[in-house]
């Protein structure tokens, strides 16, 4: 970007001649961060793993849509040896509690559960639940946190007090307990096509409680930004508060939102697994890593390790990749928060 500087100004302000002589190459925070991440093979590897999970999740969405329209067999139909229309095929029904067997039908590669359902298919479909919970919960939480944090920090006074009161109230109840309580309150609540006792309630519950961290960080950052000269200048030139907030404050705290998103994603995935394990997450019958682990608790004692291992391994690599990528992202975007 070329900067035009009038000659009188250039003469008055020391150092501007150099800018005039050599146009400044823009090195914004974003291009800097992208460059940093591009050089970082660990970050790229983790991003690839996350993308893989996302692909599996999207595949899961398509699979369920196709299964609903009888194009591909559902989990149950695979288990009972039926085709997509419920007609028996020459493949025998899947054995129940079968150990992993690579020579059998592909659905039995990771073994089957007590119902004969494929552990492999369940694990793959579990990715859909985890990824969608991580994504949607944060799509709810991060904008709320961003907006409330910016408002609290910029306006101060009573708006600040109300928002701080709101998040300190929510924060004074341990997260998992609050989640459980909200999910409890959502029992049997329906609103149009949304069924809050199921996974929609999970999105909302996680969204409602996980904006706190974002809000805190954004508020603290806005408190600093508010005192900076360019904000003062904007205010002095008569810009409306809302416009300053949108044009000057929000773009400068956006990196915090992105960091929060990546950290919140991990939290949401882990919370979903714990809630589903407790039976408060996804509805019964929907494959999820948490419900798989719950079902496998007793299996493990009987020596049936495959369902548990599949779910735990799937979750391990997702959380590992998300954790490391989140760290690298934070390092790239916010040098002050950098891990030494």
């Amino acid at each position: 970007m070329a900067i035009e500087v009038k000659s009188q100004d250039a003469a008055r302000v020391p150092g501007t001649q150099r800018i005039e002589a050599k146009p400044l190459v823009g090195r914004s925070l974003w291009s800097d961060a992208v460059g940093r991440l591009r050089r970082d093979w660990t970050a790229k590897l983790c991003l690839a793993v996350i993308a893989l999970y996302a692909l599996v999740a999207i595949g899961g969405v398509f699979y369920e849509a196709l299964a609903a329209h009888d194009v591909v067999p559902t989990l149950d139909e695979y288990a009972q040896g039926l085709n997509a229309r419920g007609v028996p095929v020459d493949r025998p029904p899947a054995p129940t509690n079968a150990a992993p067997n690579l020579r059998a039908h592909w659905t039995q590669w990771l073994g089957t559960d007590w119902n004969g359902k494929s552990a492999l298919l369940k694990t793959l479909l579990g990715a859909k639940v985890s990824m969608s919970v991580g994504l949607i919960a944060n799509l709810i939480a991060v904008p709320i946190g961003l907006l409330l944090g910016a408002i609290a920090g910029y306006f101060g006074r009573w708006r600040d007090s109300v928002i701080v009161w709101l998040f300190s109230t929510l924060a004074s109840i341990p997260g998992i307990i609050l989640l459980i309580a909200i999910k409890y309150a959502f029992q049997g609540v329906r609103w149009g096509p949304l069924d809050f006792s199921g996974i929609h309630g999970l999105y909302v519950a996680l969204g409602v409680i996980s904006w706190i961290g974002t809000c805190r960080l954004v508020r603290a950052e806005t408190l600093k930004l508010r005192e900076l000269d360019y904000v003062m200048a904007a205010r002095a030139s008569g810009r409306k508060s809302m416009s300053i907030l949108l044009r000057h404050i929000l773009p400068n705290v956006l990196h915090i939102a992105i960091i929060s998103f990546s950290l919140g994603f991990v939290g949401a995935v882990q919370s979903e697994v714990i809630l589903s394990y407790l039976g408060l997450g996804v509805p019964v019958g929907q494959p999820s890593w948490g419900s798989m682990i719950n079902a496998a608790r007793m299996d493990l004692v009987a020596g049936r390790w495959w369902e548990f291992t599949a779910a735990v391994t799937a979750m391990f690599f997702l959380v590992l990749a998300l954790n490391i990528f989140g760290d690298r992202l934070r390092d790239a975007l916010d040098p002050r928060l950098r891990n030494v």
């Binding site: 009161w165 709101l166 300190s168 109230t169 929510l170 004074s172 109840i173 341990p174 998992i176 307990i177 609050l178 459980i180 309580a181 909200i182 409890y184 309150a185 959502f186 029992q187 049997g188 609540v189 882990q270 697994v273 714990i274 394990y277 407790l278 408060l280 948490g290 682990i293 496998a296 608790r297 493990l300 004692v301 548990f308 735990v312 979750m315 391990f316 690599f317 959380v319 590992l320 954790n323 490391i324 891990n339 030494v340």
Partner: protein, 498 residues
């Protein structure tokens, strides 16, 4: 300083109030059909209504600007006042009448010289709360918030007759049953407001008073609440035996609502279990020790391990030990807690089956403690390492090394003291879990602690217990944060209180 302390305390009180509002929203307003969950789906409407009365669910939600119809028995027998018969009409349900079984009769009832009647004898019938009830309130309004569900069975007129004749001889305890057959016409009429022009069905109620006498009141043609009062009080054969009135309304009855009762019960911990009517405090006292027995050692050991490992790793920054430590803690953070839990229990089961479940042996506590400590280690080490690294780069550490201070002296005397602030905050954050124990660990190891209690309360919809636990946690947490904030000056003189 004093001003800061006061403001800080005021802020904490506001937060606690916020928590009470939140628990009210979560556990009280979203109750759903709580009576059906506890009395049973098939219970009579009256049984459900009695349950709701018992736990105060019948009260107005936020502010009590309501009144209700009260029928008071002025005779001095020892039998309960009840509706002996509600013939051919909506009667009892139309008026929203319900037996009072929980609240003792008002003290003005029994004179001071008379021996007070046993509290179980209901001598008052009350209606449902109706906002701004007065003489002009139309009759259907009385039933508006009555939990009326049409009974499945169609009432045959014969059955009604039978019930009526039966009730004349049966024990008063069977009365709720006799009111049942008349429910169907009740709802039919309640949905179409009775007008004087139409041929309104006859509404006759027979009250059995406490001295055994009966009073037959004809409500036919009554359209407003005032008509109901008149029908009872001006009854030719009443002679002051049964007094109908509206519940009194004073400046303080405004606070006689679910919300203010919730606040009061939360603060005083006076709630009772919806399941077995045990006191909340007794339940917490029973379950608390088991939770503490697991969580205190677990957090203590976990914290000590994390600090030691983090200090060492941070001190030898950049070495292989550091890299391996960080790598392991990143891996540890990614292992789901459930995996630690279930694998730990599985291994225990193979080594010593008796130690894998329950609290029969005191040594059963070791495995859960170890699991909690190990599972949290990864995250803790990383967190503390970052904090300690900030300090180990400072000049005073280099000076101490140059002077030849031994490693433990540097780490635990100088560095740790300077990182106390964030560490302390982090420890306070874990205090709620100290009390609650660990939900998952307690549940799967069969430890009857508060976490286990929480989960079983959710499963049995025991809202008062859940509310009590959540409030206790929030209270302790808020108090902890308050104490930390105030004690910052002790550990860090750089922090100046405004």
């Amino acid at each position: 300083m004093l001003l800061y302390v006061l403001r800080r305390i005021g802020w904490s009180l506001l937060t606690v109030f916020g928590v009470m509002v939140l628990t009210f929203l979560l556990f009280r307003l979203s109750a759903g059909d709580i009576a059906a969950a506890h009395v049973g789906e098939k219970a009579t409407e009256r049984a459900k209504a009695v349950f709701l009365h018992k736990y105060g669910y019948h009260l107005p939600t936020l502010l009590n600007v309501h009144r209700r119809l009260v029928l008071t028995d002025a005779t001095d027998g020892n039998r309960p006042l009840n509706v002996a018969d509600a013939k051919g009409s909506n009667a009892a349900e139309a008026l929203g009448l319900i037996l009072e079984t929980v609240e003792a009769p008002p003290p003005t009832e029994a004179g001071d010289d008379e021996p007070p009647p046993p509290a179980v004898v209901p001598r008052v019938l009350v209606g449902h709360y109706v906002p701004f009830l007065d003489d002009q309130t139309p009759l259907p309004a009385l039933t508006r918030n009555a939990p009326l569900a049409p009974q499945a069975k169609a009432p045959a007129p014969k059955a009604g007759e039978e019930a009526a004749t039966q009730s004349a001889t049966a024990e008063p305890a069977t009365q709720p049953g006799t009111a049942e057959p008349s429910t169907q016409p009740t709802t039919a009429q309640a949905s179409s407001p009775p007008t004087t022009g139409e041929a309104a069905p006859r509404a006759i109620m027979v009250f059995r008073l406490s001295d055994g006498t009966e009073l037959k009141v004809d409500f036919t043609g009554a359209t407003t609440a005032g008509d109901v009062l008149e029908a009872v009080n001006r009854h030719p054969h009443n002679d002051g035996r049964l007094v109908a009135s509206f519940s009194p309304r004073g400046p303080l009855t405004v606070f006689d609502s679910q919300f203010f009762h919730h606040l009061q019960r939360s603060v005083t911990f006076q709630a009772r279990s919806l399941r077995d009517e045990r006191k909340l405090t007794a339940i917490i006292a029973q379950h608390g020790p088991a939770s503490l027995a697991v969580s205190v050692p677990a957090l203590g050991i976990g914290w000590a391990m994390a600090i030691i490992v983090a200090s060492l790793v941070a001190y030898y920054r950049g070495s292989w030990g550091d890299k391996i430590g960080v790598f392991l803690s990143v891996l540890g953070m990614a292992v789901p807690f459930l995996a630690f839990l279930i694998l730990g229990q599985w291994i225990t089961f193979h080594l010593a089956p008796a130690r894998a479940y329950g609290t029969f042996y005191p040594s059963n506590v070791y495995v859960p403690v170890l699991i909690i400590a190990l599972a949290s280690l990864g995250g803790q080490v990383r967190f503390y390492r970052t904090i300690i690294l900030d300090e180990t780069n400072r000049d005073y550490v280099r000076t101490a090394r140059a002077k030849g201070v031994p490693l433990p002296g540097i780490l635990f005397k100088h560095v740790l003291k300077n990182c106390m602030l964030p560490i302390l905050t982090n420890v306070i954050m874990t205090i709620p879990f100290l009390i609650l124990g660990n939900l998952l660990v307690e549940q799967s190891f069969g430890i009857a602690g508060l976490g286990d209690l929480m989960i079983s309360s959710i499963q049995s919809r025991d809202e008062t217990i859940m509310n009590g636990l959540v409030f206790l946690l929030a209270l302790v947490y808020t108090a902890g944060i308050l104490v930390t904030d105030l004690s910052y000056t002790l550990f860090d003189p750089r922090v100046r209180l405004r």
